[in-house]
Structures are given as C-alpha cells and as structure tokens.
C-alpha cells in the first residue's frame, strides 16, 4: 500500500493507535516473546497471558491437557467454574481470570489453531 504523503501515513497510524488503545491491545503491544525460552511454558503458545495461564493451571495439572482443548471464551469460563466449584481450585483474581480467559480463547478456541498434534 502507498500513501500520497508521509503525513497521511502518519495520521493513519496515529488514528489506528488511538482507536486500539482503549481495548486490550495495550498488553499485546507490551508483550515481548523474546524474553522467554521456547519451552518455558511447556507446549503452550508464547503470547500475552501465557505466564499467568501457565502458573495458574500447572500448579495442579500438566499444561498438556490445556493445549489439547478447543473451547470458546464461555466454554473456558465454565471450565474454570468447574475447577473452582468441584476440583478444589482457589478463586482467581478477577484480572488474572480475564487475562487467562482471553489468552485461552485466543489461542485454544474451537478452531484449534494450536492443537499439539
């Protein structure tokens, strides 16, 4: 794509940033995958939210069972409820819970973009 003037291109970028800022893009912009080892979180995809997700889940079970699933945001939300209500998991900090659900719904949804096999 080309722009008539450098100013127009700069304006477009600024506009895009401005609209993106109130959403979750802030975290994405800050996320730097290069600070992690490739297998630091086992088989989980390294992306924003992986660290919170890994340490919350892997306290009790392998991250491999996480990576096998393909669930919607609501599906993951229900699964966390089940772990808290029936499996002895502690309540999560609401911000952590949202971060985990966003990560899982992004990378382990029904279209299974990161299915391990």
């Amino acid at each position: 794509m080309t722009y008539a003037t450098p100013l127009a291109a700069a304006l477009l970028v600024l506009t895009g940033l401005a609209t993106a800022l109130p959403s979750t893009a802030t975290e994405d912009a800050e996320f730097d995958p290069s600070i992690y080892e490739a297998d630091e979180f086992g088989v989980l995809k390294i992306a924003a939210g992986v660290e919170t997700t890994y340490y919350t889940c892997a306290g009790c079970h392998s991250e491999r069972i996480v990576a096998q699933q393909g669930l919607t945001w609501d599906g993951w939300d229900e699964l966390l409820d089940w772990m808290i209500e029936e499996q002895g998991m502690g309540e999560l900090d609401p911000r952590d819970r949202t971060e985990i659900l966003d990560y899982l719904a992004e990378h382990y949804n029904e279209d299974r973009p990161n299915f391990p096999r």
Binding site: T52, Y55, T56, A58, G59, C60, H61, S62, R64, I65, Q68, Q69, G70, L71, G75, L79, E86, Q87, G88, M89, G90, D93, D96, E110, R112, F115, R117
Partner: protein, 431 residues
C-alpha cells in the same frame, strides 16, 4: 497468580529418597545383603519383563538402580510406542498398528489416570476392604484373595469412554483420544462376584462404589480423584475380575498395580485402579465422576454443539460395537494384495460380522472373524484384499454385533465426547 507450582513427582525422585522402598514398590525387588542382585529372585521377573530381555549380569545390579532403558523421569516408563496426551495426570494412548497382538502386551496397554498414581504399591501390604451393605465386611490382602477364591485368567477388553473424542466437532472437553484408548490384555485375579458373595450381599443393594489409592490433583487428601461403581447385576457377572496380574506378570504401575478391577465392555473408569475399597450401596453411587455430566450422554440424539440440560444425561453402561484395523498401518505403501486384520468388540455382546470396504463404503467384503477367547475379550478378524489398480485407497472396517447394531460413519455428537464408535479408516498408497 498462583506461584506454588508443584513440580511433578518423578520416578527418579522416589528412587533417590529411598532406593530399597522404591525397588520394592516398582519391581517387587529385594536386593541381597550386599545391596546387589535380587534376593531369591524377588522382582527379577518384573524387571526382566519391563526391560524386555533377560539380564545376564542381574547379580551385579545395585539396589535402587533404575535401568537406563527407562529414560530418567520418563512417565511412560515400561511402555513402548505410546502417544503421551498428558503427563500430570498421565494419559497415553497406543497407535492402532501397535495394537496388532491378539493379547495386548503390558507395554502397549493405554494409560488413563484421573489423579496422581500412588508411589507405594507394595503387593505384600496392600489390602482391599469390602464394606457397606454386606453381612460381613472383609479386609483382604492379595495373598488372601489368592488363597480364598478361585484364581482365573481372562482376556478382557477395556476401552476408555472417551476413546475417539479427538474427532468431535465442536471439540469436547477432556483428553483428546484418537483410536488407541483400548486394549485386551490377559488379567489374572478373582471374580468380584465370588468376593461379594463371601461378604454377603444384603437385600436392597443397588450399586458398588470403588475407591483407589491415587491422589487428587489438588493434593487435597480428603478428595478422591474418581470413585465410580457398577449396578450390582453387572458386578455379579462372571467376567468382572479383581486383578493382581497382567499378562502373567505384575500389573504395570500406571495400569493400577498391585490391584485393580477389570470390567470388560464398560467405560474403563469402571475398572478402578489401585483398588483399596468396594462399598455396596442402596443408591446409585454418587462419587466423583458418577454425577453431573461425567461418563454420561444425553438420553436422546443432539445436534453438534447443542447445550443439553444436566437432567437429560444418563450414565454410560456398555460400550458400543467397534473395531480397529491394526494392520496395515495407516498412511503407508501397500502391494496389490495384502492381508488386512484387526480386532472387533461390543460391550456385553459379541461381534457377529466384520466387513471391509476399499471403495468408500460402496461395496463390502466379509472378513474371517474369530470367536472371542472368552467372554469379554475382543475378537480378531482378517481378510485378503486385492486392489484393482495402483493408487490411493481407504480401507474401512465395520463391525456388526450380536444385536444387529453396526458401526456408523458419522459421530453421534454428545457434549462430553463419549462413545465415538465410527468406522476406522486406514489410508493406503498401493503400488
């Protein structure tokens, strides 16, 4: 954020803590006073079976030495060729072509765990309690079982209720088993029926309740990872065993050593591992994974992705008619004429016919089908196939059981991903 990340317990850590106890627990091994070898052969047969060969210098083996054949910290210790789905808890399945033997070798039997396996599995001190609605509660050692009841060996088909879940769309929660969460090993033990009769089954008993020694993933000692049961009529059938040997040797630690149930033809979760207690109850057992939607399917057909009310789920009992093609292996080259073979089974029934198609189900060829070696065993089948010309083919196998039920082509989708008995398809390039 929970930072109390508990590292997985490993075999090598257990051996490091107490080599003698670990030797005893894993192999039944007791070393000589010089801490080498095997005192009067104790445990040598087990270790030989697990490494897969005689050990000529066994007299030199130091106490607590984990054979290098078992890679350090390998959770699939003593298994061969299994696909690891999950390492805590351990869940692993066997590729179809490695299930070719009529009797599944110990190192090829799938693993389905709900909790963390117990580390102390000493057969000499293990006890089984029979209680609840019985005339005389019993506490039996494995030696008691052997001496007080008839010991029988049977080939028994055990299949995980979720075998085939990976093909569900939309995906269903849980381990994504493909084909290989099924096996038919020889199990030696005593009939559950005989033990329950000795305790005396009181009037009004509805269900058994099973408890094992494995630990809940949360580490909470008051929580059971799983406790399922059987309707009393099923528990009293002749082919339900309390088993203490697998294929003539010790039960593999991940398969429930030293004592487990073997309940053929019902979801594998009925075959409780590391069995310590059976309680007879006057209600349908309501332990973990008996209630809610666990091991249950809707009582009516549902569309893929449909939400189903919890009250409309019913407990899975027998597993449906199914078959596997164990040779040839899928996605391989084949000649113009080959033998195709495998196994077929149907819970609480026999398989009456096995048909094979090489033209996407348009025509079918009947295979030779053996009778089961005993009630509860799968049936072997084989047939010669002649391909008309070189090219890509799919071999499909379709079993029909003694009630006339046949394997479907499409999955009867259900929310938890159980009972996928669709036909096995093997891809071949014929040259």
């Amino acid at each position: 954020m929970a930072l109390d990340n508990k590292p997985p317990r490993t075999v090598s850590a257990f051996f490091a803590d107490d080599p003698a106890a670990a030797d005893k627990a894993f192999f039944g091994r007791v070393a000589n006073p010089d801490r080498r070898g095997f005192l009067r052969g104790a445990g040598l047969a087990t270790m030989t079976a697990m490494v897969g060969a005689n050990i000529p210098f066994s007299a030199n083996m130091p106490q607590g030495l984990v054979p290098a054949a078992f890679a350090q910290d390998d959770v699939l210790f003593g298994k061969d060729g299994l696909t690891l789905l999950n390492d805590r808890p351990v869940n692993a399945e066997t590729p179809a072509h490695l299930l070719d033997d009529p009797i599944t070798p110990t190192n090829r039997h799938f693993i389905r765990n709900n909790g963390l396996e117990p580390l102390d599995v000493d057969p000499d001190t293990w006890t089984l309690t029979i209680d609840g609605l019985v005339d005389t509660p019993l506490e039996l050692t494995i030696a008691d079982l052997k001496s007080q009841f008839e010991v029988v060996t049977m080939a028994l088909t055990i299949e995980c209720g979720g075998n085939g879940r990976a093909a569900f769309d939309p995906p269903a929660r849980g381990n994504q088993w493909t084909l290989g969460a099924v096996a038919c090993s020889n199990w030696t033990g005593v009939r559950l029926k005989d033990v329950l009769n000795k305790a005396g089954v009181k009037d009004g008993v509805v269900y058994t309740a099973h408890v094992g020694a494995d630990e809940h993933l949360s580490g909470d000692p008051d929580k059971l990872p799983i406790s399922r049961g059987l309707p009393i009529a099923k528990a009293m059938t002749d082919n339900v065993l309390i088993a203490f040997e697998m294929n003539g040797g010790p039960i593999h630690p991940q398969n429930g050593a030293p004592l487990r149930l073997a309940v053929p033809g019902w979801p594998g979760s009925c075959s409780h591992k590391w069995l310590t207690r059976i309680t007879l109850r006057d209600i349908v057992h309501d332990g973990p994974k008996m209630t809610g939607t666990a091991y249950r399917v809707p009582s009516y057909p549902v569309s893929p992705g449909e939400k189903v009310d919890k009250k409309d789920f019913e407990i899975i009992e027998r597993m449906p008619v199914k078959s596997l093609i164990t040779s040839p292996e899928t996605s391989t080259e084949a000649g113009r004429t080959i033998e195709v073979r495998g196994h077929a089974w149907s819970g609480d029934r026999t398989v009456a016919a096995l048909d094979v198609s090489i033209d996407f189900g348009v025509t079918w060829q009947r295979a030779t089908l053996d009778a089961p070696v005993n009630s509860g065993a799968w049936q072997d089948w084989r047939t010669e196939i002649a391909f008309p010309e070189a090219g890509y083919y799919e071999v499909w196998a379709r079993a029909t059981d003694s009630a006339g039920e046949q394997q479907p082509f499409a999955i009867a989708w259900n929310p938890k991903g159980y009972l996928n008995n669709t036909m096995h398809r093997v891809a071949l390039r014929v040259s």
